[in-house]
Each structure stands twice: as C-alpha cells, then as structure tokens.
C-alpha cells in the first residue's frame, strides 16, 4: 500500500489530480466553517456579476444567493454521490462477477442474463424512473445510480475470474486443500481486482455527472444545494445572466476531469506494461 502511494506520488498528473480532489473534499467538509450563511441564504443583491462585489467573488444568483457558497456546498453532494455510488456498484459488480465466474454453469447463466437486462435499459431513463418512483433524495439517487452501474465491473471480474480459475496457482491451491473461501478471496479476487479499481474510479466520475443531470432535470434532493440544480436554476435567465449557468458547469467539468486523470494514473500504476 505504501509503495503504491509512493509510486502514485511519482506520477505528476495523477498526483496533481489527487491533490485537487483532496482540496475540493476539504472545502466541502469544512463548508459550514468557511461561510457564515448556508447555500440557500439570500445574502446579496440578485444578479451580481462575478468580480463586481468583493463579498461575492463569483457573483450572486437570481434571488441573491452567493454562488461561491453554492459551489462549495454543491461539492458535498457531488463527491458523496460519486464516492458512495462508485464503491457500492463496484462491490456489487465484484460479488456478481466472482459468483458468475467461479461457479459457472446455471449461476453464471442466470447472473449474465440479469447483467444483460440491466445493460439493455437505457441507464439515464432507468435512473430517472427509479428516483421518480422512490421520491428524490440523496439516498434514492445513490441507490438508483448504484443499481444501474455495476454491470461493467461484473463483466470484467467475471472474465478475470474465469481466466484465473484455470490458472496453475489456483489449481495448486486446490490441490493443497485450501478452503474455497480463501482461494476465491486471496488467489482469485486479489489478482482480478485491478481493472475493477480503474473502472470504479471512472464510475465515480459518471456518477457525479448522472447526479448533476438528475438535479438539472429537477430530480435532485430538494434539501441540498447541487451543481446540477444551480445550472437548472440559471437556465431561466440564460439570456441576461449566463454566468449563473456557466460557473457550476465548470465545477462539474473540473471535478470529473480530475477523477479521470486520477483513474488514468491508477491504470498506469497497476498495468505498467500496457500499451498506450
């Protein structure tokens, strides 16, 4: 683990991305300490352009809420959804993929039909339907994104598991009489997990994008400030005050770019010999 981190520190692009994300996370967590008011408080004159008032460096929105406060608070739900949805769907994908690849036969068949089913339904339409049914909240958004995004990991882990199952060291472990649990966890999973980690990083990025799209469509958690809903609110006044829409969009792009850069770094680290 420490050597992994040391290697990651040697990758300048990945390190930069990691530091950026860490900074965003620190800002998000300490938001209540940084700002006197919460993100919904009307603290200034509406439609203050960025730079016009030094108390509101990124300006204010339609009803006079501070945009900088909104961006920092919005990072909370974005990072939370990205982290939790990506971890949960990676976990589900690993369990499904391991079961399908290890047991084979009808278990594999059933699980793969299930995977196909989830891959056939258009992900965003599916997520929108689930959130609309469960009522919008951060929990239902995380649940919906998790349910729709485990399939790729499951397929990856299944393929790796099937390959490893036939490998000599797993055969050796069998012959030594190691318990199946230990074989699956230590010998199969540990060797199969690296592509799932890279995919998981990218899943965090797409989860953030999906949450933004949901709250743009009016299906965000109504009780928390989110970048997507800020864009949605700014849309009404696009003609006169496009900065209200532009700024939260930049926050989304930069955050997801940092996540992708980190994912690429992890990929380089775990597969040093891969052709690029």
């Amino acid at each position: 683990m420490t050597t992994l981190l040391r290697k990651l520190a040697g990758d300048r692009a990945a390190l930069f991305a990691l530091l950026c994300l860490a900074a965003v996370a620190v800002l998000a967590v300490t938001a209540p300490l940084l700002f006197a008011h919460d993100a919904f408080a009307m603290v200034g004159a509406p439609f203050t352009w960025p730079g016009a008032d030094r108390h509101h460096p990124l300006g204010t929105d339609v009803v006079g809420r501070d945009i900088l406060t909104g961006i920092v608070y919005g990072a909370r739900v974005s990072l939370l959804v990205g982290l939790v949805a990506a971890s949960l769907s990676t976990l589900i994908g690993i369990v499904v993929g391991l079961a399908a690849g290890y047991f084979g036969g009808w278990v594999d068949h059933a699980l793969m039909r299930l995977t196909e089913l989830f891959q056939t339904m258009p992900p965003l339409v599916f997520v929108v339907t689930i959130v609309a049914i469960l009522q919008p909240s951060t929990a239902s958004i995380v649940a919906a994104i998790t349910v729709t995004s485990w399939t790729q990991t499951a397929r990856l882990i299944r393929a790796e598991t099937m390959r490893l199952r036939k490998s000599e060291f797993v055969l050796a472990a069998w012959t030594l009489g190691l318990p199946p649990r230990q074989i699956v966890l230590r010998h199969v999973l540990l060797n199969a997990i690296s592509p799932a980690i890279v995919t998981g990083t990218l899943l965090a990025g797409s989860a953030i994008l999906t949450e933004a799209a949901l709250s743009f469509l009016g299906l965000g958690d109504p009780n928390v400030m989110s970048w997507g809903s800020m864009v949605g609110a700014g849309r009404q006044v696009l003609r006169t005050a496009w900065y209200i829409t532009a700024i939260p969009g930049c926050a989304i792009v930069l955050t997801v770019l940092a996540i992708v850069a980190l994912g690429n770094g992890i990929d380089r680290l775990l597969n040093p010999r891969a052709r690029r």
Binding site: L117, P122, A132, L209, R235, T245, G249
Partner: protein, 324 residues
C-alpha cells in the same frame, strides 16, 4: 438466406430479454406508492372515485401478485401501456407520436458522429504524429467529463443569444408555416445545436477507436501485401483498412446506444425538442409514473433492436464471424 435465418433467430433471442424487462417494469410499478390504479390515475386526483374503483377491478388489484403479473403481460403484449390522465391520451399513442422526432435526432447524431469520428481518427492515425494521438485522447477525456446539458446551454448562449445565428429550441419555426424544402431547411437549422451537443462525446469515442484500429491495421501483413502487389491506395484504404477499423466502432455503437438515448432525454429537455426524452421530462415534472415506465419499456426495446442491427452489421463487415 443465411442472413434471413440469422435475423429470425436473433429476434427470437430477444423475447426472453423483453419479457424480463416487462417483469422489471411491473415490479417498478408495484414499488410506486399506492396501487396500480393510483399510479395509472396519477396522483393529481384527476379521476373520480367511481373511475378509480372501475380501474381497480380492471387491473385486478385484489388478485394475487402472479395473476396481476399475467394480467400486466397480457396488456403490454396487446400494446396497452395504460392511460395518461395528465395528457388525456393513451400512453402508447403518446410515445408513438414522439418516437419519430427522437429517431430523427438520435439517427442524425449517429451518422454525424460516425462520419466525423472516422475522418478525425483516420487523419490523426495516418499523420502518425504524437500531438495528433494526444489530441484525440484529450478530446475523449473532455467529452466524457462535460455534462451534455451544460454544453447545450453554453451553445445556446453563444449561437442563439450572442450571435443570433440559430434558434434556441423546438423542431420548427411555429410562426413561419414553411412548406417543402424551406420546411426541411428550417428543421435542419433547429437540429444543428441538439445534434452537435449529443454527438460531441461520440465523435471523440469514434475518433479514438478509429485512431487505434487504423494504426493497428496500417502495419498489418495483409495491408503490406496489398501495397506490395500494387493495389491503388484508395482501394487499400477502403477494403483493407477501413473495413477492419469499422469493427470496434460498430461494437461500441451497440454498447453505447442506451447512453445515447439517455443523452437525448437531456438534450431534448434543453432544446425543447418534441421527442420521447422531452416526454420523459414532462412525465417526471408531472409525476406521471405510468408514462415514465412506458417510456423506459419502449426505449429498452429500441436498444434491443439497435443491438440486433449492430450484430448484423458486424457480421456483414467481418466474414469470419459465423452467423448462427
């Protein structure tokens, strides 16, 4: 003949997936607050109590779950997806009336993305410059990281509000009442920004795939042989390189079609494009769950059909693949 049999067997394979999707839809309906009749009527209380009890006996809410499920299958099979009280119309009718504009948007996007992506990937591969490869991979990353709705809104700011070149939304100019080719031109003008927004990401993916595939194939033995026997460069490019480079592009098209339809929900919402995506957005706004589930079902079936089409295209491109 061989193709015809393949298509039939492929269509038969679709049946279990379609049945599973209907099953999933049924359980999603049951997950919604209230019973089927409540969902069908919408939560507005648009229906009278008499009508509600009529609906309940119609759906058999008092029956065991498995009988309700059979009931549901029976209705879906006959194309009955229920009634949307908010829109005062059958769900099936509503969806079918919106389907053509979505197909127009998604189809044009695919064509534009294919043409542009192939050309860009081809060019960057043939130049064999490092900056070209880096440009393609940067474009793919940027395309992945940028939310579609935001790109659409920013395009509106630049091209509609500031430059006043293009209309902000809709499919045609409602006041103008154009006919013939002027009408076509009008629709085309309205399509520029939605198609551009929706295609950016796919152009980047296709360019990257083509780039890698062309680089691979250019150094392959069969291409060297073709060159050595003096085939004209254009023929080599078309028959030996492009054909191979198209294979991954076709695969990804099949895999991404669900995401493309999801993207059209967002893009249609931004540009007020009167398609299924916009219908889904309106259904969300009105909490018309039955309509939303109907759209989920129809778009899933659309994905299946496109997947069959890509399978056939794949087999046509690569004779090594056995049609069975």
């Amino acid at each position: 003949m061989r193709h015809a049999r393949y298509i039939v067997s492929r269509l038969l394979q679709v049946v279990p997936v379609a049945l599973l999707i209907i099953l999933a839809n049924f359980f999603l309906l049951r997950l919604a607050p209230g019973d089927l009749a409540d969902v069908m009527a919408g939560e507005a209380g648009a229906a009278t109590p008499e009508f509600m009890s009529a609906l309940r006996s119609h759906f058999g809410s008092d029956l065991p779950v498995w009988q309700q499920l059979l009931h549901y299958y029976g209705r879906v099979m006959t194309g009955d997806l229920g009634y949307s009280f908010r829109n005062g119309s059958e769900v099936t009718t509503l969806i079918l009336s919106r389907l053509p504009s979505t197909l127009l948007l998604v189809g044009t996007t695919l064509l534009v993305a294919l043409a542009t992506g192939l050309a860009a990937g081809w060019f960057t591969a043939v130049t064999r410059r490092r900056w070209a490869a880096r440009l393609v991979s940067m474009a793919t990353t940027a395309g992945f990281a940028t939310p579609l709705f935001w790109v659409g809104l920013m395009l509106i700011v630049v091209f509609s509000i500031e430059l006043k070149w293009l209309p902000t939304g809709g499919i045609e100019d409602l006041d103008a009442d154009y006919e013939g080719w002027r009408h076509l031109l009008d629709v085309a003008r309205h399509m520029v920004m939605p198609v551009l927004t929706l295609s950016i990401f796919y152009v980047a993916i296709y360019a990257r795939l083509t780039h890698v595939a062309v680089l691979d194939v250019l150094d392959a033995d069969h291409v060297r042989t073709a060159r050595a026997k003096g085939l004209p460069a254009g023929r080599i490019a078309r028959m030996h390189v492009l054909r191979n480079a198209l294979l991954p592009v076709v695969t990804i098209t099949g895999m991404q079609v669900g995401a493309l339809i999801g993207g059209s929900v967002v893009v249609e919402t931004v540009f007020a494009w009167p398609g299924m995506g916009r219908l889904a957005f309106d259904a969300v706004m009105q909490r018309d769950l039955n309509l939303l589930l109907g759209i989920l079902l129809c778009t899933s079936l659309l994905v299946i059909l496109v997947n069959i089409a890509t399978d056939i295209a794949y087999a046509a491109l690569d004779p090594r693949i056995e049609l069975q």
